[in-house]
Subunit: 660 residues, 2 copies
């Protein structure tokens, strides 16, 4: 890089662009994936700086701004794709996810409030309701004539949804459910829309009923359509809403709390796709097991989790675009023997901050596109035709990628802010707003640690139906009782990976580290090793007095195994995307980016690879050097690599980019 | 831990406190250090929840609130300690730093605005001015009759202060300086106080003058006392201030920009302690070298950097207190065979998130206390009596600990926010405000990467006077030209460390890892190894064509060496604090905390220790296990360890702590 900067003086009027247009276009096509047209349409529609968050707005006006923007989106039928044609939508799940993701380039509040309305609330009505709900509500919620909220989380129960304390008790006398917040901790909390705009809520509560001669008891968590406010925004009788007020970000989202004091709703307001209550109180469900029914219902709602992961990726890409563009014009300290200062991206330390995160952002984007496509395919089927195993894999992959991608996004945005120094701390340059907004993406739609643990438990539990809902100790006992080796590969190996593996040396330590098959083997071997040893450890403890202690001692092991699993899948998505790439020059550049992703992932976990002798000391040193060399190689393409994201220019407005 | 939770049900009304009062008191005394009385006084004075930031306030009212609080502090003579008795203060530097640090428990905006006024602006007048400035300004700035700002950073120049473009040109005709923002990038930027309240600024500018028959030219950066606003807050002629507006945090601080259009100030407004200009324009300074003079002036201003590091530590402790208290009452998922749910701090993954950061916070606090004491001692001497070497070490240590401590704080607060889930994202629970405020601590008073690099350069440059101000390439040439081995220990070995080393086995791989001497040797050997190999690498490149490229290739190596240096010093401060601790039980507990600090520091850098064979594979595995075991050991003391920080209870108000 230094050599280059001696011979080529970057011209500040034409950006530091060393990647030809064909290549950038090729990268763009690869990144855009199957819903490229939707992306292009939204690029045009969102290319307006008035969509950016205005930090001067207080809660009320900030929320009003977002609601007005949603209404504008609705007027262009933005949300129809997320709903089936028979319910009044256009039935294109992938388009719906990609649309929500693109909103993240404008304002994460717009994405979140849209996601709550159309994804979570709308998704609950669509997927948990039946014709009577679809006919009555779907068109209105698409058009925003009906503003809803998703009443799942309670003050006392975030991650453990099965333990929710709100009750919905069936009263056969009036054919009503009585919704009640039984304890202080049963208060619905952090509910988007509940602060101000929502007039109804999809409330998750323990359904309590008894048939004739049967003591009423809980049938587990079900979802109910509950009106909470009248047209004037006043709480309905028995409902007490309050406002969560100021948060770490997402100012345009009106999060709030709801307390129900024996609120009566008609029995038909039970979203009754998976269970119903007969007039006499008899509980009926096509799914016998409470546990299985609960997870089946939850499984239909993963769209929210997928959208959150997708949007986190978009936010990271935006932050990287801002930080890399800044690093390409900002100059500090003199370059020796040269007439111009070096840009800060010429410094290795700065490259090392940003470029591995850029590479990882590519990896995450490709993985996300595959996840979105799989969600689309699965949800385009009749639910009864979806193989349970496929659904389970989809759910696990959605959980894993949400955790992996949102942790990456939060970290990346932090680094980007810091990489822009004082300028990065000014709201006018957008990074602090992104930083505040993204923070909760690691928490909502599933705490990342809990989600990662879920992936680990599923891996080790052979994706068994029966283990769901088990607590830590129960799960330990379950795993200890499994027969056979858990390392068996659960997902079909994709062709491109198999071909690469077949044509290469099996011993990864002997073959070149830039060899793609070697990279795959390193990631796969790590995953297999962690999975096997974690299972062994749990089995050895089969007779332990305190299975919770066994679980706890292995918790970091389990999380690490899950991470290795997720990262291997991300790598394979990247490899697939390179294979699918039509442009030769783009594919070549993607190869380098993939190398940097692999090298920096290996570097981040080098102690593990060394400790378990999957990598020699010599190779470990080569990995460190390799990260440096790849940073140097990719430095001239930094601008091209972020331009390929295709973020609307008006959404990248930042005074710091006007002068270095 | 699980065993314990089976036998003892924590009572929610009496906190989960398993550490006896004597021990907590002993910890408190150790943490409070030499200015314990100041801390206690401020604990009482600050124990008011109205001092907490109010997220509902817009910029104007938020700033007014902070200014009013500063006036109240001033009315109690809060700032007098920072100024010499002969200038109207009470001359207790340590007390001044500790006072500023304690403000961080209340509101970081209060700390920053106070630090700007009394530390930076006041410090410039005190340390760069002479009697004529002291007599005229010090009493007023202590009392806030004079509100100042610190006009150093420019839009184009943050880290590279020597390259500032604002000029102060001497006009012998009128005996004035003409202050001018020569370019767009010369605009003063992010200046605390310049947004609204400051009426003057200590402006750093290139002093341009020529004596009789001498062409006027720059004598380097000097500081000038420049009025910027009249009493009504209106910009003075030639001055254009503007407001930085909304930022990532620190809403109560009025950052702004200043453009000077040939503003004339009397010659006596040069803060002329280190240089003056005679009536005829002749430049005079007791320090001949421009470079040395510049760094001498800067060296007197390190108090700001020390305060920022100290306060970052306080902010991290506050976040940990909130997150750990929450983790001790928050319950999720059932414990097996037990009548109560486990708290989230019973989970190993949660312990692993928080407890190593708690241990590191102890380490940083002890190191900070030593730094504050050394700053106190040095600045209590007549400046002419301060050994240059001692001053250099102090500056390097201040830079290193600011970088190390503020990175730790920013990371810790991020983790604490996430560890509190949705509750952690609500401003009412304080963590998001802390997170927004702390972010810029990694940037201001020196970007952490630049500061760490400075430490590395100094280490390798044998703390030579001549190398300061050299650019990357110049510095490479300088290091390459050094004779002799650079590994020589530059700081005197403290007695307690020497005693430990003398009485232990020299081969760290053979002795027990809980042995303190072994721990020291591991840290020291890492530092020595990195320092030596980095120097060798630079020397081999002595004849390279492109010394900047040489520097760049070694930049990550240099940063790593510096980090190892800083972390070794932090460890030794911790060991000193244990040795100094009067309470036997507290010292024992501190020993465990120190072990966790060491084990997790080793774990974080395990790949390096393995790659360079400072640690065997077996030992590496023991380190991983050790972190888990130490987390389990310290879990019962988590509450005691945060209570020992002694943060005023009213400043820990958070609704999430009222119910789990």
């Amino acid at each position: 890089m230094a050599a280059e900067s001696d011979t080529e003086t970057p011209d500040p009027t034409t950006p530091d662009q060393h990647t030809d247009k064909t290549t950038v276009d090729g990268l763009r096509a690869a990144l855009d994936g199957p819903w490229a047209q939707t992306r292009d349409e939204l690029r045009e529609a969102l290319n307006r700086r008035d969509l950016l968050a205005d930090p001067a707005l207080d809660l009320g006006p900030a929320r009003a701004k977002i609601l007005a923007e949603m209404k504008e989106l609705a007027s262009h039928n933005f949300a129809a794709a997320g709903f089936r044609t028979e319910h009044g939508g256009t039935g294109d799940v992938g388009k719906a996810i990609v649309g929500i993701e693109m909103l993240g380039y404008a304002d994460l509040s717009l994405m979140v409030k849209s996601g709550v309305q159309w994804g979570l609330f709308g998704g609950a009505v669509e997927n948990l309701g039946t014709a009577r709900h679809h006919d009555k509500y779907v068109a209105d919620l698409i058009d925003l004539n009906l503003l809803g909220s998703f009443g799942m989380t309670e003050t006392g129960h975030g991650s453990n949804v099965q333990a929710l304390e709100t009750t919905a008790t069936y009263d056969p006398a009036t054919r009503e459910f009585v919704i009640d917040s039984t304890t202080e901790l049963a208060r619905k909390d952090y509910i988007g829309g509940a602060g101000e705009h929502a007039t109804v809520s999809a409330v998750f509560a323990q359904l309590i009923t008894g048939g004739p001669g049967e003591e009423p008891h809980s049938r587990g968590v079900h979802c109910f359509f509950v009106p909470i406010r009248d047209k004037n925004g006043k709480d309905l009788p028995g409902v007490t809403t309050s406002d969560c007020g100021y948060k770490g970000g997402l100012r345009g989202v009106d999060n709030g709390r709801i307390i129900f004091d024996k609120v009566r709703i008609p029995a038909e307001n039970l979203l009754n796709r998976y269970a119903d209550v007969a007039e006499d109180g008899t509980y009926q469900s096509p799914i016998e097991s409470d546990n299985r029914r609960f997870f089946t219902m939850l499984g239909t709602l993963i769209r929210g989790r997928v959208s959150v992961g997708a949007t986190a990726g978009a936010a990271a890409r935006k932050a990287l675009t801002l930080a890399i563009r800044y690093a390409l014009i900002r100059r500090q300290f003199d370059a020796p023997d040269s007439t111009h200062e070096v840009t800060i991206l010429d410094y290795r330390a700065h490259q090392r901050k940003l470029l591995p995160l850029l590479a990882k952002s590519y990896a995450v984007a490709f993985a996300q596109n595959e996840l979105t496509a799989e969600l689309h395919d699965v949800q385009s089927l009749d639910p009864d035709d979806v193989e349970p195993h496929r659904q389970r894999l989809l759910e696990s992959w959605a959980a894993g990628l949400k955790a992996y991608g949102s942790s990456h996004a939060s970290h990346t945005i932090n680094v980007c802010r810091e990489a822009c120094g004082g300028a990065g701390y000014m709201d006018e340059n957008q990074l602090p707003i992104l930083r505040g907004d993204i923070d909760v993406f690691t928490t909502f739609e599933g705490d990342n640690t809990v989600l990662t643990q879920l992936v680990g438990k599923e891996m080790l539990g052979l994706y068994s139906e029966e283990m769901r809902g088990l607590n830590a100790a129960g799960w330990v006992k379950f795993v200890a009782g499994l027969v056979g080796d858990v390392v068996a590969e659960k997902t079909a190996v994709r062709q491109v990976v198999q071909t690469l593996l077949d044509s290469s040396d099996e011993n990864p330590d002997k073959s070149d580290l830039t060899d793609r098959a070697t990279q795959i083997r390193l990631f796969r071997n790590r995953e297999d090793h962690l999975q096997r040893t974690c299972a062994q450890r749990l089995r050895r403890a089969a007779d332990a007095d305190d299975p919770f202690a066994v679980f706890n001692d292995a918790q970091d092991h389990l999380l690490k195994a899950a991470n290795a699993h997720i990262e291997r899948q991300v790598l394979e998505s990247f490899i697939q995307a390179i294979d699918d790439c039509d442009s030769k020059s783009a594919a070549e550049l993607l190869g380098k980016v993939c190398d940097l992703f692999v090298y920096s992932a290996l570097e981040a976990d080098l102690s593990w690879f060394l400790m378990h002798r999957h990598v020699s000391v010599e190779r470990a040193k080569a990995i460190r050097r390799g990260v440096n060399e790849l940073c140097e190689d990719l430095r001239p393409h930094a601008r091209g690599l972020v331009d390929a994201f295709g973020i609307p220019e008006e959404l990248l407005v930042a005074p710091m980019l006007e002068h270095g």
